[in-house]
């Protein structure tokens, strides 16, 4: 017999004077159980679903790898020191995270609106923050796999030499940078609740300028102090700078500030962005409902 509580035998039992229908229904979680259930449910398609579409896996790795190769050959053409090749490989791998935050976090609520899912999210008895956390968690895990593949392939193709100073600090920098980055993505997602057709263009615009100012392909120390400091609002700027200092021989001499300071700033950014995301989401959700933008579909 089917386990579905709405299957025919149970409906019949109710009609025949059995237990009330409410008792036969599925158990419903609430509170923190529902919260974590939502996080896992939203992360699931990001981790499992995306791996099922093999073409996505292939192109998500190929496209950043093509850029990495092009920039590596530029450095080779101008006879740059070998560590710069490594900078490009690591920076190229980290572009996967920025792309994920931009297109699969920030823009996600806009896509959901376009497809008519956003109103369903809002109507459901769960928290939108849990939905965003699920997206972030799933996106982070799936993208980490892709970034690792890019680093491994890039390192093999171009014989990159690493000299890791501290694995503990490296792990801490990566985790903090990801917390802050995905916190920023969640904040941006709440802003995108209000956007319509312009969302695509804004995301498209936020690629190259961020690659430039965050120093994806070169050390940001080459900018003036204030440009580097302002760029540090994007967590990948300091995250990348710290990682380069920790894994390359010449890294420390090309670093913007010390790794300790960068870890401290990343910790602050993580807290600020995650807390800010919560506040902004609550505000923007109310605003979007008030202005009737949740179901808007301006094509």
């Amino acid at each position: 017999m089917s386990n579905n509580p709405y299957s025919t035998p149970q409906v019949l039992s109710h009609q025949e004077g059995g237990r009330p229908l409410e008792v036969d229904r599925l158990h419903k979680n609430s509170g923190w159980r529902l919260y974590f259930q939502t996080v896992i449910a939203r992360a699931y398609p990001r981790i499992i679903g995306q791996q099922r579409e093999k073409s996505w896996l292939f192109f998500d790795i190929l496209l950043p790898l093509l850029s990495v190769c092009a920039y590596v050959f530029v450095y080779r053409a101008i006879k740059a020191p070998e560590d710069y090749i490594g900078f490009v490989v690591v920076g190229g791998a980290m572009t996967a995270f920025w792309m994920n935050v931009l297109w699969s976090m920030s823009s996600q609520l806009y896509w959901e609106k376009e497809q008519g899912n956003l109103a369903l999210y809002i109507m459901s008895p769960t928290s939108m923050m849990a939905v965003l956390l699920g997206m972030a968690l799933g996106g982070l895990l799936a993208t980490t796999l892709r970034a690792l593949v890019i680093i491994v392939l890039g390192s093999l193709f171009f014989h990159v030499q690493y000299a890791v100073v501290s694995f503990v600090q490296l792990f801490a920098v990566f985790i903090l940078a990801m917390f802050a980055l995905y916190g920023l993505g969640m904040m941006a997602a709440s802003l995108y609740l209000l956007l319509s057709r312009e969302a695509w263009h804004i995301s498209n615009l936020a690629q190259e300028p961020i690659y430039l100012f965050s120093g994806f392909y070169f050390p940001i120390k080459n900018f003036s102090f204030w440009i580097s400091a302002i760029s540090s609002i994007i967590p990948l700027t300091l995250g990348l700078d710290a990682m380069r200092q920790l894994v390359f021989k010449t890294g420390p001499s090309l670093g913007f500030v010390s790794v300790g300071v960068e870890i401290l700033v990343l910790s602050i950014l993580s807290v600020v962005f995650l807390f800010g995301a919560r506040l902004m989401l609550a505000y923007m959700e109310k605003l979007a409902i008030r202005e009737g933008r949740l179901t808007e579909n301006r094509r």
Binding site: L66, S67, A77, F218
Partner: protein, 294 residues
């Protein structure tokens, strides 16, 4: 003959022109009317300048700002003109997915009295125009602030214009090939245009001489018309600076134009047949109005 076949095979110049003109206007509206003209202009300028600035900073870091070196002009101009590749190719092929999946109007295009290939090429015009603005601004910025060696009085204008026109037609044909393939693929493979543009960026010597590539990868560059197109554009703008690089130094301008023209015609023929073939398959399988948004 089926009614739908008439629209795409009829040899009717006014029909082609009308389809092209209306598609160009439509494409421009879609590209630009999401915001006010000022914001649109800012948007059109920032992205390409930031892309060029990445290369400028990379170059500056390693060479301590030796912008007078010929390799800088090579990299800068190659990168600037490469903007056309993504704009024209993706502009044409993306129109298929945009119309079929987003606006859901491709089926109406097929029952309208238009020529579909002309319509799709017209849809690429808006991106070509925006791309042209980006290319001009990038080059002017390079000349004014980065000592890119372009002297307007020394430019070989006939060579530049001929190369530019042949190149744009060639890119449009490559876009039509991708558009044909796009008729058969699902929406989530939207990145096919980016993938091809990325591969061409790597293999066509856009931002580094082909000699830098491993020997076994260089042949890919030599069969790509974009390689010859970019070389001609560089030669027309910076003359002997471009000829200093060994990749195509054995070939004179006329030979390069011949190769570019030959490859463009070849791609044009392939585009014509491949698009018709893909279109036929798409109709057979009922893909023209299929929404694959899963």
């Amino acid at each position: 003959m089926q009614a739908t076949d008439i629209q795409t095979t009829k040899k009717n110049i006014p029909l082609y022109l009308r389809s092209f003109r209306m598609a160009a206007w439509l494409g421009w509206q879609i590209e630009s009317n999401w915001t006010d003209p000022f914001l649109f202009a800012i948007y059109s300028i920032i992205k390409p300048l930031a892309g060029a600035a990445i290369l400028v900073v990379m170059y500056s870091v390693i060479t301590s700002g030796d912008f007078a070196s010929p390799i800088f002009s090579y990299i800068y101009l190659g990168n600037a003109f490469y903007m056309y590749v993504g704009a024209v190719m993706s502009g044409i092929s993306w129109a298929v997915l945009d119309d079929r999946e987003h606006y859901k109007t491709l089926k109406y295009m097929y029952v309208a009295p238009i020529n579909i290939p002309a319509y799709l090429i017209g849809r690429g015009v808006a991106k070509f125009l925006v791309g042209s603005i980006s290319v001009i601004i990038t080059i002017v910025f390079g000349v004014l602030f980065l000592h890119v060696n372009v002297d307007p009085l020394a430019i070989n204008w006939p060579l530049f214009l001929i190369s530019l026109v042949i190149g744009i037609v060639m890119l449009a044909m490559m876009g039509l090939i991708l558009a044909g393939i796009s008729l058969l693929i699902v929406q989530h493979v939207w990145f096919i245009g980016d993938a091809v543009a990325g591969a061409l960026f790597l293999f066509s010597g856009a931002i580094f001489p082909l000699e830098v590539l491993p020997v076994w990868l260089r042949p890919f560059g030599f069969i790509m018309p974009v390689t010859y197109w970019l070389e001609l554009l560089r030669r027309s703008l910076v003359g002997r600076v471009a000829e200093a690089f060994p990749t195509l130094s054995a070939l004179n301008n006329l030979q390069l134009i011949g190769i570019l023209l030959g490859l463009s015609i070849l791609f044009g023929i392939v585009a014509q047949f491949l698009f018709r073939y893909c279109e036929h398959i798409a109709r057979e399988r009922g893909l023209i109005d299929m929404v694959t948004n899963y």
